[in-house]
Amino acid sequence: MSESTGQGAKRTYYDAADLGKFGEIAEGAPDLARKFFDWYGAVFAEGALTAREKSLIALAVSHAVQCPYCIDAYSTDALEKGSNVDQMTEAVHVAAAIRGGASLVHGVQMRNHVHALGM
């Protein structure tokens, strides 16, 4: 029994092969899928930002949202667009900094509350 059927001993929630099946999502709601994929393609087209810059943003966001499919896809895409591992690592640090900073800045809220409760 294959892993992707979810019935084998090595059942996992994420299967790299599922990324290749993304298009099958259209079987449920074809009009919505068409709109999504058209829009998705337009988003990543060369524009005010280069396709390479958008690819690095996508790579960073992939880490922020912790999407393994996206990380696979945009690691490849970034390399294909000429980025190197230094640039890609810095992009991931940007995502990590925002995530870390987002937690830490809530410390101000904690401090406000402490001050409100304290004497």
Partner: protein, 347 residues
């Protein structure tokens, strides 16, 4: 990492033979065959258009052992084109007025008669192209080559997969990047790539199991980076897909990525690229005079189709024009995305 690795042949590797490579490629389950893909585009059987390029592989000797090399070239290879084959090549070039003589290898300049082939090819009226690894021309016995190329207006097509050492050396061997920069400096100093009419084009194969990006965008990036970092200039960047043959085939197979890579190529089939594949206007000659539809078929030992001439000694244009081009799963490498040829993207 060492600068020089043993070739597949030297190691007696399982994939050193063309039979084993073809068998492995044939065993990969793909969504459809290359023939079926061509058929869906109305291109099967694939036929030649006009013969514009005579691509001559003068031998397997090279001073590098790049990981992606489809020739399995290296210092331990000894095959070189003998005189009688070279004479037949020049006779064919002259007789049929083929417009372009594309000299490849190995490192072509290591052939003892490379200089003569350049001079006589140019004298025959052909636009001569030299596929240069940028480091052989630094060797003492070959340091005269750049000036010779310039004197005969030879187009230089030089390999540089990235504008940094780490990526370039990972593919081509330790220290190759720094030497390549010196090779480019010498070519620039002669006027190559600097608007003098001496054409210097770079080739970038991906440093890994991914496809080349948009050629025009990468060219812009390579030009900017090489100018800023090293004050170097060139004319065009050609992106070339890594072909699943010889060392690159072993590379992906050892990593268990053969199916993924071949599927990626097959899924990226582009009918526009298929219509412009280089085998339609190119004839490939092996060091031993055998004829092939391309350098890749040559390494897989897939000769011209039955009925077509087999060697440069018995080649006629009419018979060549009637042939069906021999294809296989590796051909998806030339039709993926924007396509790939010895002149870069085709679509």
């Amino acid at each position: 990492m060492g600068r020089i690795l043993a070739t597949l042949q030297k190691r007696g590797a399982e994939l050193s033979g063309a039979d084993a490579q073809r068998a492995l490629l044939a065993s990969v389950p793909l969504p459809r065959s290359f023939e079926a893909a061509l058929g869906s585009s109305g291109l099967f059987p694939l036929r030649p258009t006009t013969l514009d390029i005579l691509q001559v592989n003068v031998g397997r000797r090279c001073n590098q052992t790049c990981k992606h090399c489809h020739v399995d070239a290296g210092p331990d290879r000894s095959e070189v084109m003998p005189r009688d084959v070279m004479e037949a090549v020049l006779a064919f070039l002259t007789r049929h007025r083929v417009g372009r003589l594309d000299i490849t290898g190995g490192a072509p300049e290591l052939h003892p008669d490379f200089r003569e082939l350049v001079v006589r090819g140019a004298a025959a009226g052909a636009h001569v192209m030299h596929r240069c690894n940028l480091t052989a021309i630094l060797l003492p016995n070959y340091a005269d080559i750049p000036a010779l190329l310039a004197a005969h207006r030879v187009e230089v097509i030089a390999s540089l997969p990235y504008f940094q050492a780490r990526e370039t050396d990972a593919q081509r061997g330790a220290g190759v990047f720094d030497e390549s920069i010196e090779g480019l400096r010498r070519l620039n100093a002669l006027g190559y790539g600097r608007g003098t009419g001496l054409e210097l084009n770079l080739v970038a194969n991906p440093v890994g199991t991914f496809l080349p990006g948009d050629q025009a965008s990468l060219e812009t990036m390579w030009k900017r980076e090489l100018k800023q970092r090293f004050d170097l200039d060139f004319d065009h960047l050609f992106t070339i897909t890594n072909m699943p043959i010889s060392r690159f085939l072993e590379f992906i197979d050892e990593r268990g990525r053969t199916v993924d890579y071949m599927t990626r190529l097959a899924n990226a089939y582009n009918p526009v690229a298929a219509a412009s594949v280089m085998c339609r206007n190119t004839l490939s000659v092996g060091y031993d005079g055998r004829l092939y539809d391309c350098d890749f078929n040559q390494m897989l030992e897939m000769p011209l189709a039955d009925g077509a001439p087999r060697t440069i000694f018995d080649a006629s244009l009419a018979a060549l024009h009637e042939r069906e081009i021999a294809v296989g799963p590796h051909c998806f490498g030339c039709t993926a995305g924007a396509g790939s040829s010895c002149g870069g993207a085709v679509a």
